[in-house]
């Protein structure tokens, strides 16, 4: 009798807990893969395809499924570092050369207005119409270089974004700033 009671109690407990777990798994179900979202937040969203995937999200999915973390040149070594931190993987050197951030510039005199670059731009950063001059919206350009190959007249070039007063950063205080000698005041 006692044996049966014990079994009944355990069985009841199992049913109750099982029901609770089942309920929780439905109630608190996580939509989508949170890991992919976290990875995607680290990727620079240039949508350049240099990783071999058609955009940052597919690459994020690929990383979540075990692909290498060092295939994103725009993210740079820092991006690899952050991905390694997130995923607990080893930091690997970038498998391509790291370039300074750049934007595309259309030589408007050469442009023939073919709209091929407009179709290629992943972020709609090129304005223009058929047989009209095209130009790049500098603020929106991610520097992905996808507009270079389709241009039939090679009028697009990449230019590095130089340092200016607006994007200048205070340097890590290691080197003492030395005073420049005052120009001889007449």
């Amino acid at each position: 009798m006692e044996l049966l009671l014990a079994i009944a109690v355990m069985a009841l407990g199992a049913v109750v807990l099982g029901a609770a777990l089942g309920y929780a798994s439905i109630k608190f179900k996580v939509e989508g893969d949170p890991l992919v979202e976290k990875i995607e937040a680290i990727l620079p969203q240039t949508q350049c395809g240099q990783c071999g995937y058609p955009g940052c999200k597919p690459y994020a999915e690929a990383i979540a499924n075990g692909d290498e973390i060092n295939k994103c040149p725009p993210g740079g070594a820092e991006g690899v570092q952050r991905l390694a931190d997130l995923l607990g993987r080893e930091v690997k050197p970038l498998d391509a050369e790291e370039k300074p951030k750049q934007i595309a510039i259309i030589d408007e005199n050469t442009c023939i207005g073919c709209t091929l670059c407009i179709q290629a731009c992943p972020v709609d950063a090129i304005v223009g119409a058929a047989k009209q001059m095209h130009t790049i919206i500098a603020q929106q350009c991610t520097g992905c270089e996808l507009c270079l190959p389709p241009c039939p007249v090679e009028c697009i070039r990449m230019a590095a974004i130089g340092e200016n007063i607006d994007n200048w950063k205070w340097k890590y205080p290691v080197v003492e700033i030395k005073a420049m000698p005052l120009k001889e005041a007449a």
């Binding site: 969203q45 972020v123 200016n164 950063k169 205070w170 205080p173 420049m180 005041a185």
Partner: protein, 592 residues
Amino acid sequence: MLMNLFKFKGGVKPPTNKTQSLTLPIAVAPLPSRLVVPLHQSIGGTPRPVVQAGDKVLKGQLIGEADGWISAAVHAPTSGTVLEVAMHVQPHPSGLDALCVVIEPDGQDEWIAREPVEYASLKPEEVRERLQQAGVVGLGGAVFPTHGKLTASKTVPMDELVINGAECEPFITCDDLLMRERAEEVVRGIGIFRDLLQPKKVLIGIEDNKPEAAAAMRAAVDALQEPFLVVQVPTLYPAGGAKQLIRVLTGKEVPASKRSTDLGVQCFNVATAYTAWRAIAHGEPVVSRLVTLTGNVAEPRNYEVLIGTPMDELLALAGPKADTDGIVMGGPMMGFLVPQASVPVVKATNCLIAHSAKLFPPKAPEMPCIRCGSCAQACPHELQPFEMYWFSRAKNFGKTQEYHIFDCIECGCCSFVCPSRIPLVQYFRFAKSEIWAREREKNAADQAKIRFEFKQHREEREKAEKAEKLAKAAAAQAAKKAAEAAAAAAAEAAGSTPPDSAAAPVATAVDAEIDPKKAAIAAAMARAKAQREAAQPKNTAALTPAQQQEIADIEARREAGSRSEDQGSSAALAPPTSPATTADTSTPPSRS
């Protein structure tokens, strides 16, 4: 009148070194050989140049048009010729270039037609507009466009207007001299701010080491019968910081995340009030400011200097001593060594200190932090600089924000007291600019993502729309063909039994509504068939009846032969093309 003052925690008392430059009255600096006027002299949008090389300009003429509401116009400081609009090194710690208008003075110093207006007749928005057009910005050092600060919060009543005449930084005396010599116009300027903001109280805070300035201001306030309160605050660096002065005078503490208007208080510098009055009552835009020349010079003094004057030319007026090896813009606590001696004076330039190794001995090398806590005691914002230092140094920027690094005003008290001589402020500036850069990158990435996703969405939508359009066209086509085929069948029915070909298009037309793709294919096939049918009779169209008869005979024979050949097996499956050419070729097809 006695008033209960509040206190801020911390603060330091560096040697003030103000007396040197107070002995002589304000002098007007002579015209320099050329003026380099940077276009971006205020917080906010960069003004667009409206002049080009070769243009003749008059003093006070607009040369840079404000870009957006938070932006202030820039004007020619004297009459002359524009030599170029080009990039020149800025008085900025980066030593980078920015767009400047270079003017060669003609020596006439001829004003544009100034339009003094009756201040009382102006509407508040007109006053703000005029201040923007006159390039009035905060001359205390932050150069925030003044008109942008002159709108009271809609929800919080404006309690106090604080006027900052504290001038706490060592060496600088330009506000002191301004109050002593031009108190009346300062007070009139404060009147403008008061009318726009409608505060309950106006408090003018002056450090108690400037009794002459306070006396002059009191006299001016009394003479103009204004209810302003001139309050002498204890001399303690950084009492002249806007947040500290607000704290001392009103007891209110402004966090980094809020604007002071949200707490019902607003703060302006005395020099800003002065330029506001000149702009409104005299129609004079901001083309000059007071600059203290001091430090390692023979004759320290305050000068009224045109914006754009090269610093080396200006400093020569005070006679820099032989061992001068640099120019510090601003005070010794918050100022910086300018990257080049020839950089121009800008609206933010309140003081130039001739730098020498004797005056500012080089700091001994940095030692490790011993966690003594002196910096935390000195911090006027009650922050913990040593903690922020650890995290800045380790580039752990998230943690620095947890320790409220953006509340740091970079006053330099912590570096001043640090026994290990750690350049704490430099670490904080580094951390702040890194955080800002990351923020910018993050925003750019988010934008790019949104645009990329939208583009994909749009492409898919376009594809779907195109397919739908095609399907509709195909369905219409198929329906048309079906009708035609039915008509043909009806016509043929008069002659011979119609083959089941007529039924097929009808069936496809019904299908078309179910499956657009199938319909498209069916329509294409129907079209091809129609073409074939149309093309076939063409060969025989121009023939004589005798020839036609002959052909008909041959066809009939061939038909009979083929029928006998595959009798029974494929007769039922015979292609629909063959029945069309059966016996009845004499009836000309209506479609040809």
